[in-house]
């Protein structure tokens, strides 16, 4: 029962950590906003209203309107869907690919290990944003491609974590015992290796979502991600650039939304790390 109490202890530590709880609540609230977007958005996020172009925050439009008269609050509410989706899917892609590569490298060693890890080293030799930019520039700008690109550049981190955990677990006596009892590689991997990678993977995935959301917004800002008229935070911000002097709210508010969501994931991720690894507790 050691496993169960390990997670229960971690959960208890997490709940005692005030900033982690704050981060979790922040993410949860924005996730609810994203899911309930059609119910709570006061306006259609895509409907232009040329009479209301660039109107400042008011009772009718709490956060003002953009250059096509679209309600910024409504677009931000729908934008939460886009950012959360992109962040989570990109990390899921990186996690899945990284886990497979890391297990193959760590478990089988030798040539596959060498090959995989050298490829990972090469990927880490690029500043990640730049590599993502290159990939999207090649694949063609779209939100889906931006998500894939961010997923790809995040693979090495996960592969490294899984590989080092695998190496550690593999040398344990209970794995040797399992093998002596005739357990297959698949059984050892799923019963012993993967569960032991879980803690660092969960932490990295949470923090990775924060980075993925930032990078996706950045790619959209450069015109490589979400395309108009999609209500994506980075793209909204970029659309407001031309009107920075006369309508700063078009640029200001979507940025605040990004900060809140990313900060939520960062706080929660830091909290998870402290909770799951008591040795790191400062």
């Amino acid at each position: 029962m050691r496993g169960a109490s390990l997670w229960r202890d971690a959960w208890r530590r997490l709940l005692r950590n005030r900033s982690a709880v704050a981060g979790g609540v922040l993410v949860l609230v924005l996730a609810i906003v994203a899911v309930a977007a059609p119910l709570i958005a006061p306006y259609d996020p895509l409907a232009p209203s040329l009479g209301d172009r660039l109107s400042p925050p008011s009772a009718a439009h709490w956060l003002g309107t953009d250059d096509l008269g679209r309600d910024i609050l409504s677009r931000m509410i729908y934008g939460a869907r886009v950012s959360l989706q992109v962040g989570i899917l990109a990390v899921a892609l990186a996690l899945a690919a990284g886990a497979v590569l890391g297990i193959v490298a760590g478990y089988y060693g030798g040539l596959p290990d060498n090959f995989i890890m050298r490829v990972m080293d090469v990927m880490l030799a690029f500043p990640s944003v730049l590599l993502a930019i290159g990939i999207v520039a090649v694949m063609g700008p779209s939100l889906g491609n931006a998500m894939i690109a961010i997923g790809i550049v995040s693979i090495p981190v996960f592969a490294r974590i899984v590989r080092s955990s695998t190496l550690q677990v593999k040398s344990n006596e209970y794995v040797e015992a399992a093998r002596a009892l005739g357990a297959s590689d698949a059984r050892i991997i799923f019963r012993h290796v993967l569960p032991n990678c879980m803690a660092p993977l969960i932490v990295q995935a949470t923090l990775g979502i924060a980075t993925a959301i930032l990078d996706a917004a950045g790619l959209s800002f450069l015109g490589l991600g979400a395309q108009p008229p999609a209500p994506e935070w980075g793209a909204m911000l970029s659309g407001g650039r031309a009107f920075l002097r006369i309508a700063p709210w078009v640029t200001a508010f979507p940025g605040i939304a990004i900060v809140l969501l990313v900060m939520g994931f960062n706080l929660f991720g830091d909290g998870l790390r402290d909770a799951l690894d008591p040795r790191l507790k400062r």
């Binding site: 030799a125 944003v129 730049l130 290159g134 520039a137 800002f221 960062n266």
Partner: protein
């Protein structure tokens, strides 16, 4: 030590080769015909064939790669599809601007990040500690392009304290020697250019320096906290040394080792962040060049920019590793 440096140098060769393969493949992983991607959908068959011939796309892939490497070793990165100028010349003209911006950002980040981290650690759980760690959290959670635009709006558009874009007012004459305008102004004794180029550096430097500032502050704090709990610090206190001396001579000196590593790594990431920052502030560096190349589908220029920045990144990582080994003699490498 010198053996370690040598080994580490040799280890970067396959990495650099890998980087060139990835950058080379950018053009060839495109679904369909690279020539069509470069010229767009409405290109004539003749134009397509000409570009194919020009880029050597009709040869087998490995021949193309070897040719690419061969040219690269001679410093030839091809020509821009848009302006037909040499990519290498274009990069050489833009690179000093990026270096100057990255160095400015790093200086700002260090000058604020390290002291903030020290004060936070020595007054753990004080209001200052909580406040500065909250600011650091904001720093790592903030998109730099948004921060850049907000700085631009407040300090350039609204208050008019700093210039909006570029590196120097067009009215100011500066003889360029290194291409680093601040350094050139000092070398030529041009006070007006010095003031003006520094003023142009403040906003983009602040925008680009925010993330490293936050990371450095956090790292300094945690490293300092760890060091301050060591026995030799207690001994120093017991000897009756002044608090300031204990913190600076005994604490900081040891705490800075991991901070230096983080600073090196962050400098590398600055180069990636330069694409956004340079785009916002119309800073004529490699990042801006890469952005324009994307917009114009100018793949040779994009390839060159990514290759240059990545090689610098690899080199910086090398320097960081070597510095680390030098600073901490306890570490042995095998």
């Amino acid at each position: 030590m010198s053996q370690y440096v040598l080994r580490r140098l040799i280890a970067t060769i396959p990495i650099l080769l890998g980087v060139t393969i990835v950058v080379f493949m950018f053009l060839h992983l495109i679904p369909g015909d690279p020539a069509r991607v470069i010229l767009g959908e409405r290109a004539t068959p003749e134009a397509l064939e000409q570009v194919r011939e020009q880029l050597g796309l009709n040869d087998p892939l490995y021949v193309q790669y070897l040719r690419f490497i061969g040219r690269l070793l001679k410093g030839d990165l091809g020509r821009s599809v848009v302006s037909n100028t040499r990519v290498s010349r274009e990069l050489a003209a833009r690179f000093p601007a990026t270096i100057e911006l990255a160095v400015a950002a790093m200086i700002i980040a260090t000058l604020i990040g390290v002291p903030a981290g020290i004060i936070s650690a020595t007054r753990q759980y004080s209001i200052f500690d909580h406040a500065s760690m909250f600011v650091a959290l904001l720093g790592v959670s903030m998109p730099i392009f948004w921060l850049g635009l907000m700085l631009l709006w407040l300090f350039a558009l609204e208050l008019g304290w700093f210039p909006m874009s570029a590196r120097l007012n067009v009215t100011i004459d500066l003889r360029t020697i290194t291409g680093l305008f601040v350094l050139d102004s000092v070398l030529t004794g041009n006070l007006a250019a010095l003031k003006n180029s520094l003023a142009h550096l403040v906003l983009p430097g602040l925008a680009l320096g925010t993330i490293p500032m936050a990371v450095i502050a956090r790292m300094t704090r945690s490293s300092m906290l760890e060091v301050m709990h060591q026995d030799y610090i207690r001994t120093a206190h017991a000897k009756g040394l002044a608090e300031r001396i204990v913190i600076i001579k005994h604490g900081l000196k040891n705490a800075l080792i991991p901070v230096v590593t983080v600073m090196g790594l962050q400098f590398g990431f600055l180069l990636g962040g330069a694409v956004m920052t340079e785009t916002i502030f119309s800073w004529p560096g490699v990042g801006r060049l890469a952005f324009d190349a994307i917009m114009n589908r100018d793949f040779p220029v994009l390839q060159g920019s990514i290759l240059l920045i990545s090689c610098v990144f690899v080199f910086i990582n090398l320097v960081v590793d070597v510095t680390y080994a030098y600073l901490d003699p306890r570490i042995h490498y095998d």
